[in-house]
């Protein structure tokens, strides 16, 4: 079994498996099937699933927190709008014909929006109005479909549109519901009966009971999830119709906008947009969102599972370069998690400390051999005394004990790593030109790759730190102290004590500092100034440091020592393979697929995919025995553009050969490598990029 297994799923057969035959495999079965080191696979599956569940709930909570602000202001907006409707002062009366509209700008990461809209409509239903309907552009091609969806979602009944395609759905439901006509007046009547009912006190069976203390006329909220994708005509007509009913029906819109608010003006002419009263709501940018997710999910010792630098890099660059989607980023973590537990038998130790120590004791001989083969462990062994080396390599019980210690060390490393990382980031993130990056993830990536203190950027950052003014430096150190505060590890605690000690010293400086520059303010003549500056220069050359400078250097050396002792890359840690997932190629292949390259590779080296060594050739050309399409592809690649490969090679060929050739050509055309031109018969052009 090699690492290229995804490529072997080559053919695709569209057979619908019959229901009886389909044996439902549980997730666990899928996991265990073909899993590396099958003995403890069930345990690993459980660990993996527990971790994923935790990550999932954590991200959901995070998402809710991030969206809280904007959702709260939206809720306020809807409440305010429905209450002003019931006011009767002159100004509100004059404005009553406008439909209140919230333009919610969410950013281009459209797949992430679903969750936001879901929680928005949930919150609205809980606290403002039971009447909320969300619509998407793809289900509203024409006006009648839009109205139908809105009505269905609000009233919970089947709505007829005079259309053949609905025939089927209508027939099935005809017995149960009396279908209603697809018009807004239907909705209006329905709304009136609903609200009248609840006003007289008969509690509605379905929805009306939970919130009755609110407004007497709860608004009807329609959410357009993806405004840009809507057909402008449909939207315009819908708004026109709605504005005819605004007197009787307290309608309200929420527009989900991915690009910018000016898109409203592109979609709606003035005559329509003047019917709306638009208020703007801007959500958190997706990069901020990602930063929070990384902060809470990656830069924490809470999760034993870690990603190495390359995998992180792949995930982050997919985010920044391709889609801005936080959801996909988390999916990437999920994939890495699954792959790690699936392919690394020792991942059984990737869990909370207590559990890991227990699991060490339960390792069997095979697992211990695996440990002995780990690169980090080999390096560790080499550093030991010869006797110890023998013990480690032969005595299983001894190895278990050592492993327990090593696991503890690994956990300690993580305990110290993150607080110190945050400290270093706090110190360097505001330096000019950001030598160690603006975002903490950049610094994290550097630290994952190599010894950060050896890099040039680190040196220049340290130089810049030395140039900071006193109060700036104190403020930064103060923040570092705050970061170290909650840490529980002994080393960090002692570091905190030292840091606070220095801070008090800095503050004591205030009283007895006298800078030579202070005298300057009085003496204005040039000669004097030159003299003083010269003196200052002199003193600097003589390395007579002021007390502040001494203290500053001391502080920075202290920081430097912290960095050196705690921010070494994880690869240097023994047993890091247990927690760190390293296969960036797998992640990239799964998340950022290159279909065309794969097809090209398959056409170039068929022996690999057909697992037939006879197709292999010495010089890398395609063998005669290869499938027709591979030969045709090779011909196309070598032929000049627009050249018909048919013409010279095959003058008189038998019909079967000709048919095979034609088939290969049409297959290539289907795959998007060539297309027929209209210049002459049987003339094709090569395509470089293919179709979408």
């Amino acid at each position: 079994r090699d690492t290229t297994w995804p490529y072997q799923c080559f053919g695709c057969f569209v057979f619908k498996p019959s229901a009886k035959k389909k044996k439902t495999l549980s997730l666990a079965d899928h996991f265990i099937h073909g899993c590396e080191g099958a003995e403890n696979s069930e345990k690993r599956f459980k660990l993996c699933q527990d971790l994923w569940d935790q990550i999932k709930t954590d991200t959901e909570v995070l998402q809710d927190e991030l969206n809280r602000n904007i959702l709260d202001s939206l809720l306020d907006f809807t409440r305010k709008c429905s209450s002003t409707r019931q006011h009767s002062d002159w100004a509100s009366q004059m404005r009553a014909s406008e439909i209140p509209t919230a333009a919610l700008v969410l950013g281009v990461n459209v797949p992430d929006h679903d969750m936001t809209f879901q929680s928005l409509s949930d919150l609205l239903q809980q606290s403002v109005t039971p009447y909320v309907a969300s619509v998407q552009a793809k289900e509203c091609g024409a006006l009648k479909h839009l109205i139908k969806r809105v009505l269905e979602r609000l009233m919970g009944t089947v709505v007829t549109v005079d259309d053949e395609e609905e025939e089927e759905a209508e027939q099935t439901s005809a017995q149960h519901h009396k279908s209603v006509h697809c018009s807004l007046s239907t909705l209006c009547d329905w709304y009136n009966t609903k609200t009248k009912k609840s006003n007289t006190g008969t509690p509605g069976k379905k929805r009306s009971s939970p919130v009755r203390d609110g407004p007497q006329q709860p608004p009807v909220v329609i959410i357009f999830k993806d405004l840009e994708a809507f057909n402008p005509r449909v939207l315009q007509d819908f708004i026109l119709i709605c504005s005819r009913y605004i007197e009787r029906l307290p309608l309200m819109f929420i527009f989900g906008i991915a690009t910018s608010p000016s898109t409203i003006q592109h979609l709606l002419p003035h005559s329509v947009s003047s019917l709306l009263c638009i208020e703007l709501f801007q959500s958190l940018s997706c990069t901020q969102h990602l930063a929070t997710v990384i902060d809470k999910l990656i830069l924490t010792k809470q999760f034993p599972f870690k990603l190495n630098g390359k995998v992180m890099q792949v995930l982050i660059s997919i985010f920044l370069y391709h889609d801005f989607s936080v959801r996909k980023f988390i999916k990437g973590i999920q994939l890495a998690l699954l792959e790690h537990f699936h392919s690394q038998p020792l991942s059984v130790l990737c869990c909370k400390k207590k559990e890991a120590l227990l699991n060490v004791m339960q390792l069997d001989h095979l697992d211990l051999e695996r440990i002995r083969h780990l690169l980090s462990f080999k390096r560790y062994v080499e550093k030991q005394e010869p006797r110890e080396q023998v013990d480690l390599l032969t005595d299983d019980t001894h190895l278990k004990e050592v492993c327990q210690k090593l696991i503890k060390d690994l956990h300690k490393y993580h305990k110290n790593y993150y607080p110190i990382l945050r400290c270093l980031h706090t110190l360097t993130s505001s330096l000019p030109r950001y030598p160690l990056g603006k975002q903490i993830r950049e610094l994290h990536l550097i630290c994952l790759e190599k010894n950060v203190w050896e890099s040039e950027d680190y040196q220049s950052a340290m130089k810049l730190l030395k140039m900071l003014a006193k109060d700036e430096l104190i403020a930064l150190l103060q923040r570092c102290a705050e970061i170290l505060q909650p840490a529980k590890s002994k080393k960090i605690k002692s570091a905190l004590v030292q840091l606070e000690d220095m801070l008090t010293k800095f503050k004591q400086l205030d009283s007895n500092i006298t800078s030579p520059l202070k005298h300057l303010q009085k003496k204005t003549d040039l000669a004097q100034l030159q003299k003083t500056l010269l003196e200052m220069n002199e003193s600097r050359r003589a390395k007579k440091l002021s007390p502040f400078e001494v203290l500053r250097n001391e502080a920075l050396e202290f920081i430097d020592s912290l960095v050196k002792s705690h921010l070494s890359p994880p690869e240097s840690q023994v047993l890091n393979e247990v927690c760190y997932y390293t296969s960036s190629a797998t992640v990239r292949r799964h998340l950022n697929a290159t279909p065309r390259t794969s097809i090209q590779a398959a056409l170039n080296s068929p022996f690999y995919y057909l697992q037939n060594d006879r197709l292999k050739t010495e010089d890398g050309t395609v063998s005669n025995a290869a499938p027709d399409i591979c030969i045709a592809y090779a011909t196309v690649v070598s032929a000049a553009e627009g050249n018909d490969p048919d013409s010279d090679n095959f003058g008189k060929v038998d019909e079967v050969k000709h048919a095979r050739f034609i088939r290969a050509v049409s297959e290539l055309e289907f795959l998007g490598f060539i297309k027929s031109t209209k210049q002459k018969t049987d003339h094709v052009a090569r395509l470089t990029w293919g179709g979408c």
């Binding site: 404005r95 014909s97 007197e247 003035h270 391709h322 889609d323 290159t594 979408c692």
Partner: protein, 451 residues
């Protein structure tokens, strides 16, 4: 005749019930003497209770010139049997038929209509109902936004115009477009044409003054309207917009009055004029919503906050490669394909602009608008402008479709065309320049127009 006079000169004691009114803002005062130039015509309508009226009447005039309102009040006051249908609402013709039957014969008749009712179904049921309850007087069908009838089935409009062959019924079409644009090429029964001219300044003044704030005097409000029209009449004659503006700015106008400082109209004018000018740039274009405008008026004293309108928010955050795809699309849309060699080949030699210049291409491509380009060309340009090596991954392709959904690109070819689809770039020069700046790409150097 008495009734008409009664309509022309609003009677404050008689107010229509609001739920019968289509729009309470458009009150009766909107009916003005000048629309009764064709008084004889109205007489026809009013007096022909028993005999047949003209089969179809076509009324056209600009937005907010009182068409619907006049018809509505007239039919109401004269208690004529009528059905009012808005064509924008009739997503299917069946809905139209249903509404007509419902208003004339009640819901029993409407429920007789089969699903997906056709015109012949309507005629059948109408005739049936008609024989049961024959018309004692002319029935009227008012169709608002009749211009939308042009997009429906070709036989609908001619049939509606001849509906009188069924019964004593008159159809009244209200439209913002002249009849010439309606006339089907198969010919049809010509309706009686009637034009509603725009309101004059004086009429606008009279109508707007009717919205008087209850706690201020008639003269005071009327002088306010006078000032308002003085500022806005030159740019806007739309009654609805003016009414909107009047409502929004009135509180500001009254401010000095409440502080007890000013009572002189001239001084009030001095106070409000700059404010109204500001409103012209923001509220009038609906850059700023009415609620925001009111909030701004309240906070204005504290901070001279620059409230940004909708069009000020044009910045769009895009993923890195999407930006380059968009840049490539822009270049492909505005550069002739021949010049790609010059811009994107490393050793293109010395090719000057004059070598490319064709006679008919002297016009700037930016004036002509974006041109469609095939996917291949987009990707070729993309790979040469993007600074790193990019694998042609599935997500590059999906970004192109995302850009299409976001309407930054438009797909020119049909959705079904899978190989070599064609696109157009739909963003402005300013937008693309802003995008290029964020990725340090000097787009102007690559544009043929700016060579």
């Amino acid at each position: 005749m008495n009734l008409l006079n009664h309509l022309c000169y609003p009677n404050p004691t008689h107010t229509p019930t609001p739920n019968l009114n289509l729009n309470p803002n458009l009150n009766r005062s909107q009916i003005r003497p000048s629309s009764f130039g064709t008084l004889s015509f109205w007489k026809i309508i009013c007096d022909t209770k028993l005999h047949y009226s003209y089969p179809s009447i076509f009324i056209y005039g600009h937005r907010a010139s009182g068409k619907s309102h006049v018809m509505h009040v007239l039919l109401k006051e004269l208690e004529l049997p009528h059905a009012t249908v808005s064509c924008v609402e009739c997503v299917s013709v069946a809905l139209l038929f249903e509404q007509v039957l419902l208003s004339f014969f009640g819901c029993d008749a409407a429920s007789l209509l089969p699903r997906s009712a056709s015109l012949s179904d309507f005629v059948r049921i109408y005739r049936q109902q008609c024989s049961q309850s024959p018309a004692k007087q002319t029935r009227y069908i008012v169709m608002e936004k009749a211009e939308l009838l042009r997009d429906t089935d070709a036989n609908l409009l001619p049939a509606l115009l001849r509906l009188q062959e069924l019964d004593n019924v008159t159809i009244i079409l209200l439209s913002e477009i002249v009849w010439d644009k309606f006339r089907p090429n198969t010919g049809c029964f010509e309706p009686l044409l009637l034009h509603f001219p725009d309101y004059s300044k004086g009429e606008l003044h009279t109508i707007l003054s009717q919205d008087r704030h209850p706690s201020y005097s008639d003269e005071f409000y009327s002088s306010y309207i006078n000032i308002l029209l003085g500022v806005f009449y030159s740019v806007c004659r739309d009654l609805r917009e003016l009414r909107h503006l009047a409502a929004l700015n009135f509180s500001k106008f009254c401010e000095p009055l409440e502080e007890g400082k000013e009572t002189d109209t001239h001084k009030l004018w001095r106070n409000i004029e700059p404010h109204l000018k500001k409103a012209m740039q923001t509220v009038y274009l609906r850059e700023v919503s009415s609620v925001q405008w009111e909030q701004m008026q309240q906070t204005e004293e504290k901070e001279n906050g620059a409230l940004r309108g909708l069009s000020a928010h044009t910045h769009v955050e895009l993923p890195y490669y999407s930006k380059f795809l968009l840049i490539a699309a822009y270049l492909a849309s505005y550069n002739p394909a021949r010049t790609d060699k010059r811009f994107f080949l490393k050793h293109h030699g010395k090719i000057r602009k004059t070598n490319f210049l064709k006679k008919n291409e002297k016009t700037s491509n930016h004036l002509l608008g974006p041109k469609p380009f095939p996917l291949d060309r987009l990707l070729a340009i993309f790979y040469s402008v993007v600074d790193s090596r990019v694998a042609p991954t599935a997500s590059i392709f999906s970004q192109i479709s995302s850009l299409v959904t976001l309407q930054l690109l438009t797909q020119v070819s049909h959705d079904d065309q899978l190989d070599a689809p064609k696109y157009k770039c739909a963003v402005s020069m300013d937008f693309i320049c802003a995008i290029s700046r964020t990725v340090n790409f000097e787009i102007v150097k690559y544009l043929y127009d700016f060579l």
